[in-house]
């Protein structure tokens, strides 16, 4: 982990963000990420500035390839940014700081479903009995109790994704990073898990960063939606979602303000994708 707890190079602006009044959970300033590989340079993120408060549910939307995954990987420490500043705050140190639901297939093929879900707890040396209960609970939530002893190659695509979600939930972190977690799920499973996610979030004051391509989903779930521009990705719009809670996927569409928000996000996104396409064709 490339983290430091003491770092002299903190800009005044950054320090400002950390004023006692409101310590943000995640603060990024001029965050840039450039990939250099095989002689090609791809600027994935360009000057991302964002402050995410503790307990916020934040959705990230943006065209394919704009750097959403990259941003999450930098936050999680799996990737280092090339310039700019990034500061995370760990409020409750009895809990792990963050867990990620990866976009790719990421459950260990050599572990059973139950062992996969248990992984984070095992790493934290949670007592065995507690682990077993937690695993059972989350397997039930994602509807895979029957498959606890199965190996990943015996599961369908959506089932694998659900294992990955259960693994992150079971770890009970302060920050949940979720990269298109429900993309491979049918509407019903998706609704069930969205509900579960909201319940967990409300109960335990988690900060959630949630990547999705569905505007509906973003509006159902989040307090705040970040729209990213096409590559090089930066924040284009930071949209407040002040819809009342609790929300349901069906009711929300008819709630006041929904149509407007939906419209606005569509607009922002459409511009971006069209722009992305255009520059590509011209290049």
């Amino acid at each position: 982990m490339d983290t430091m707890t003491q770092n002299p190079v903190i800009s005044p602006q950054m320090a400002d963000l950390c004023s006692p009044a409101r310590i943000p959970q995640i603060a990024a300033r001029n965050l840039c990420k450039e990939f250099v590989s095989g002689g090609r340079r791809v600027v994935a993120l360009q000057d991302v500035n964002v402050v995410i408060e503790r307990g916020q549910f934040c959705c990230i939307v943006g065209p394919s390839g704009c750097g959403k995954t990259t941003f999450l990987r930098i936050v999680s420490g799996l990737e280092t940014h090339t310039s700019g500043e990034l500061r995370l705050t760990h409020f409750n140190q009895t809990k792990p700081l963050l867990s990620m639901v990866f976009q790719e297939q990421s459950i260990f093929p050599w572990m059973t479903v139950a062992d996969n879900v248990e992984y984070g707890l095992r790493m934290r040396k949670v007592p065995k009995a507690e682990r077993r209960d937690t695993v059972r609970h989350y397997l039930e939530k994602v509807g895979l109790s029957q498959f606890a002893g199965s190996f990943p190659h015996q599961l369908s695509g959506g089932m694998k994704q659900r294992v990955s979600i259960a693994r992150a939930f079971a770890n009970d972190p302060e920050i949940l990073l979720m990269d298109e977690p429900f993309a491979a799920l049918d509407e019903q499973n998706k609704a069930i898990l969205q509900e579960e996610l909201l319940r967990i979030w409300e109960e335990s004051r988690k900060t959630v960063l949630f990547i999705t391509h569905s505007i509906d989903e973003a509006l159902v779930l989040s307090d705040r939606a970040l729209v990213m521009t096409a590559r090089p990705g930066t924040l284009k719009a930071d949209i407040d979602v002040p819809l009342q809670r609790p929300r349901g996927a069906y009711e929300i569409r008819s709630s006041p303000g929904y149509a407007e928000l939906n419209e606005r996000m569509w607009k922002e996104l459409r511009e971006e994708v069209m722009h992305a396409r255009l520059t590509k064709e011209l290049a």
Binding site: F102, S106, F108, Y119, M123, R124, H153
Partner: protein
């Protein structure tokens, strides 16, 4: 009712493919059974070929006795000898030597190999040293081994262990560095410590390759029995082969070789079985 599969329509005749179901394909025996039979048949055929070659005098019987002609010697060596000179005794001695040497070589190799696979800087440091030491012939370091381990069992184990070590090391390092990065990312994300990364990701993830390394290592440890038992030994299959070679008692030598070959076949079967035990998660 007989239905033509290809029916007349205008244009090029469409081709109708009927996908056979696995129940439709008449299979009296499962593919696993066939494989098992083939696995037993193959060495038998090899033996048959050898018999045929010697019988037809393509191979000179004086130097390459037919398998059938060593049966007698085999019987004699097994049953007509006092226990401490019988074939079974020598086989046991050799097996224990091979096994000890194998373990002494393989266990550190897996550990170091995995670290090499995980940490590029370690790999950069160890790789050239492996390159330098691997091709050093055992015979050249014999004085060193004798100096360090004496001329008893320990130096024999050492000879075998060194041979096994490099084989398993290289295979393990390759296997570990070939693990999909996403799994290591997951480990990092869940704050898996060094040991945990090792035991829960690197080791199981590289296991197919490690098994291949063990296969190579075990083969080498059998191969090295002769080298090891050449030096100051009065027992073991390697010694039998070596002695027979020196005395030009070709039949005795071939009994030794056949025994080594049988051990090889059996242990490869066992490793196969072990592999499918250890890797229940592999799609086959």
């Amino acid at each position: 009712m007989s239905t033509p599969n290809v029916l007349p329509v205008p244009g090029p005749a469409p081709l109708v493919e009927v996908r056979a179901s696995s129940r439709l394909v008449v299979r009296k025996v499962s593919p696993e059974t066939i494989e098992r039979v083939v696995a037993v048949l193959a060495p038998v055929l090899l033996l048959g070929l050898w018999e045929a070659l010697t019988r037809s005098n393509v191979l000179d019987q004086r130097f390459f006795p037919a398998p059938s002609s060593i049966v007698d010697t085999f019987y004699h060596m097994t049953f007509k000898m006092p226990w401490d000179n019988s074939l079974a005794y020598h086989v046991l001695i050799s097996l224990s030597r091979a096994l000890i040497g194998f373990l002494l070589g393989a266990i550190p190799a897996i550990a170091i190999g995995a670290i090499m696979g995980l940490v590029p800087i370690v790999r950069a440091a160890v790789q050239p040293i492996v390159g330098a030491l691997f091709p050093i012939p055992k015979v050249a370091i014999l004085p060193l081994l004798m100096l360090v381990f004496g001329i008893g069992e320990e130096s024999k184990w050492a000879i075998i262990a060194i041979g096994v070590f490099f084989q398993v090391l290289i295979a393990t390092a390759a296997g570990v560095s070939n693990i999909d990065r996403i799994y290591l990312d997951v480990g990092a994300n869940f704050k898996a410590g060094r040991i945990a990364t090792y035991t829960t990701i690197a080791f199981p993830g590289a296991l197919p390759m490690i098994v291949a390394g063990l296969r190579l290592g075990w083969g080498s440890s059998l191969l090295l029995l002769v080298t090891a038992e050449m030096v100051s030994s009065q027992s073991g299959v390697g010694f039998l082969i070596w002695r027979a070679w020196q005395l030009m008692t070709v039949e005795d030598m071939y009994v030794g070789l056949v025994v080594i070959a049988c051990i090889g076949i059996t242990s490869f079967w066992l490793i196969d079985a072990l592999e499918s035990r250890l890797l229940p998660w592999k799609r086959r």
